[in-house]
């Protein structure tokens, strides 16, 4: 299987202070990877670097076979990487109605007027928001807003979907419902997903693989099945597989 995402020696710094890396990571196409770890460990920074929103200091990022970053130089602009991102708390544009949010993305992608309207409707149906096209973000519930943010992330037809705490603000029932939608879309569209969360409960059941991050590095990498087993076992250190030095190349 080809790798949808390949990261080698990735480092991100703020000034001279390293905040991420070095990161070595290979994610095969169609894999759902859960990225867990405490707040401030670099999970979101890694997502932003993949999306091209944070400038790496060193290393390479290859997305779907295309070199996106090399040695601290941005090769592909964020919009050219074929990634969609669901931001923490949605980051929906507050002044745009639901359908307009999607049409805006489609127009940016050069989709024609009629096709935009049709595709926006399809996307709303896809995330079970049909009939919500004229609603503004302020009038949506937390779950509805996250679904709309998901539709917006999917509007650019991404191969890789980056999810930054997508279930964070939701209650248990809504989390389960959105997670089920995510899995359905992942399987239908063949998406590769990098899913950041500080609370893996529930999400680990649907992911294929779980990575644990600490202090800007990946310190554990196990299949999702093992993650649950290790988590239950008390006193075993480290909880996830191996130390950073033992990461597979």
């Amino acid at each position: 299987m080809t790798n949808a995402l390949s990261i080698r020696g990735l480092e991100v710094r703020v000034g001279k202070q390293p905040i991420l890396g070095p990161i070595e990571l290979e994610i095969p196409a169609g894999q759902h990877v859960l990225l867990v770890g405490p707040s401030g460990c670099g999970k979101t920074t890694l997502l932003r670097a993949i999306a091209g929103l944070a400038a790496p200091h060193a290393g390479t990022i290859t997305i779907d076979g295309k070199l996106a970053d090399e040695g601290g130089t941005r090769v592909l602009k964020p919009a050219e990487r074929g990634v969609g991102m669901l931001f923490q708390n949605g980051a929906l544009w507050p002044h745009m109605r639901a359908a307009k949010q999607l049409r805006f993305v489609l127009r940016s992608r050069g989709v024609g007027f009629r096709a935009r309207r049709r595709r926006a409707k399809e996307l709303l149906n896809l995330v079970e928001l049909s009939g919500y096209g004229r609603r503004t973000p302020g009038t949506l519930s937390g779950g509805e807003a996250q679904r709309l943010a998901l539709a917006r992330a999917l509007a650019s037809d991404p191969r890789v979907l980056l999810l930054d705490e997508p279930l964070g603000p939701l209650d248990a029932e809504l989390r389960a419902s959105l997670l089920a939608s995510l899995v359905k879309l992942r399987d239908e569209l063949g998406l590769t997903i990098v899913h950041v969360t500080h609370d893996p409960a529930g999400s680990a059941d649907v992911a294929h693989r779980v990575l644990r991050m600490e202090d800007g590095r990946i310190v554990g990498d196990v299949s999702a099945g093992r993650f649950g087993a290790d988590d239950d076992a008390e006193g075993e250190e480290p909880k996830l597989g191996f130390d950073a030095e033992e990461q597979p190349a």
């Binding site: 929103l53 602009k77 919009a79 969609g84 991102m85 980051a91 544009w93 805006f104 940016s108 650019s156």
Partner: protein
């Protein structure tokens, strides 16, 4: 954002706002520096600073309680008095000086401080109200539970203080740089000079530009010293107590203090707004010679007929200046907030506000009064350049604050979607900032309409209605002066009035 766009906006700011200031510095010779320590200069500086401090004290004493009471308490009539309380800031301070000296026969430096204090108190009130509205309901409820209203107010004062100080710093900057009020009050009573007079005298009477610049330097430094900490307070978020799950507080119940509080607020509105406007209307209708509505209508109609050209000139150029300033300001404000190190540019933005208007006018003359630019200097474009140079800083400060409050992820999401820099600015950044964009437009429009201190020096700007009013004050009948002032006032208040009537969002005019 597009680099070319940023560079163009930066160059425009440099040419319009900084070049008139920098060109003045090149005229300073070593011998001019001797003027800095002269007894006369130091005496005038001391008098101007005292005037500034006294007027700021008055602005704080009126503005802080006025802003807090109308923003956070159950004082009756708050919704009506809130917009009326902004009107003194819109009024040219000269108009306040005319009406107050006519009614109370106020004379001398204290009268000047009072007029400037009343003119600038809305700045303190607006910042206080903004800080007060951002106190979380739960913090207030906790204080109310512990010890009632007094405890709640003691808890809130430190949270209000940065807002009060920021408003006070701006009020001080306005007061020490004003020239029209001391000039007018001196002309109707005992003569006293302020610093702006000295700058003007050094330039015009002694034809010594370098000396004028050196004279102005201490005042510029003092103004910057007042404004920079205010800017820093805003940067550190000291003006905001908002956090993630903010709960808007309910109005505080004043109990037996409700009606005394109403009396205070109503008195402020009466003396600072209704009184001056009523006096102007009274004068326009005949004044002490006998007020009649026929005379009032005649005075208004005659004034409109005679001054139509000047009024149109002012309205058009103020509106054009505001319309050009706002997109320019948005690009610069966005660069300040989003570029790495961009915030270091903000103190530079303050320079045109800190430099006395008279000096800015002299700088503009020095910059543009050459053979090569004679066409610009003599034409109406000069008015535009002067207005933009003097007031572009205001929408930049308003919009940089608004951009700072806008979640950068909104732009990142659009960038990921493939929207280019201009489209992101137009479709993602600008719409949520609409109240600030319109607020910035209104600020430039109002300040340009009432601009006199620098315009009085630049020949092209002499064809404006405020200059005409200034001339009439000295040479024309009271009824025609009052009618012209009322006309100007109507157009000054009009944009804000229209917005509040037809828009659902609150106008944002604070940095």
């Amino acid at each position: 954002m597009n680099r070319a766009l940023r560079i163009t906006a930066g160059l425009a700011f440099a040419l319009l706002c900084l070049a008139p200031i920098l060109i003045m510095l090149t005229r300073v010779g070593v011998s001019d520096l001797e003027n800095l320590g002269s007894e006369r200069t130091l005496g005038l500086l001391g008098r101007t600073l005292r005037l500034g401090l006294h007027s700021t004290l008055i602005a704080v004493l009126i503005g802080a309680p006025f802003g807090f009471l109308l923003a956070r308490t159950d004082v009756p009539g708050a919704s009506l008095m809130r917009p009326l309380g902004i009107v003194p800031l819109v009024l040219p301070p000269l108009f306040l000086a005319i009406t107050w000296t006519a009614v109370f026969e106020l004379r001398g430096p204290w009268a000047t401080a009072l007029v400037l204090g009343v003119n600038t108190f809305p700045l303190v009130a607006l910042f206080t109200a903004k800080a007060a509205a951002r106190i979380d309901a739960r913090r207030e409820e906790a204080a109310l539970l512990v010890g009632g209203l007094g405890t709640a107010l003691r808890m809130e004062l430190p949270l209000l203080l940065p807002g009060i100080l920021t408003g006070a710093a701006l009020a001080f900057a306005f007061a020490v740089n004003d020239w029209s009020v001391p000039d007018y009050i001196s002309s109707v009573g005992p003569k006293f000079n302020v610093y702006a007079d000295e700058i003007f005298a050094n330039w015009q009477l002694e034809a010594n530009t370098g000396k004028a610049v050196v004279t102005a330097l201490p005042l510029v430094l003092v103004t910057l010293a007042a404004l920079l900490p205010a800017l820093s307070l805003r940067r550190r978020g000291a003006l905001a107590t908002l956090d993630g799950d903010f709960r808007r507080p309910a109005p505080l119940r004043l109990g037996v203090w409700r009606w005394p509080a109403f009396a205070f607020c109503a008195a402020v509105v009466l003396f600072a707004v209704c009184g001056p406007i009523a006096r102007l209307a009274f004068e326009a209708g005949g004044g002490t010679r006998g007020f009649t509505t026929t005379a009032f209508r005649e005075a208004m109609a005659t004034t409109l007929e005679f001054e139509r050209e000047f009024l149109a000139n002012s309205l058009i150029w103020s509106a054009v200046a505001a319309t050009i300033a706002v997109p320019l300001a948005l690009v610069i404000a966005h660069a300040i907030e989003r570029l790495r190190g961009g915030r270091w540019l903000e103190p530079i933005v303050l320079l045109p506000i800190a430099v006395p208007a008279i000096l800015f006018g002299i700088g503009t003359i020095n910059l543009w009064n050459h053979d090569a630019t004679a066409e610009i200097y003599d034409g109406n474009a000069m008015i535009l350049l002067l207005y933009l140079g003097r007031f572009l800083a205001f929408p930049i400060l308003v919009l940089s604050g608004a951009v700072a409050a806008l979640d950068p992820r909104l732009e990142e999401a659009a960038e990921l979607a493939g929207a280019g820099p201009l489209r992101r600015l137009r479709a993602i950044v600008a719409p949520p900032l609409r109240p600030s964009l319109v607020g910035g437009w209104v600020l430039v429009f109002v300040f340009a309409m009432r601009e006199l201190d620098a315009a009085v020096l630049v020949p092209a700007a002499n064809h404006t209605v405020i200059f005409k009013a200034y001339n009439r004050i000295h040479f024309a009948r009271d009824d025609s002066v009052a009618a012209l002032c009322l006309l100007i006032l109507f157009f000054l208040v009009l944009p804000g009035l229209l917005w509040s009537l037809f828009a659902r969002e609150k106008l944002e005019v604070l940095p």
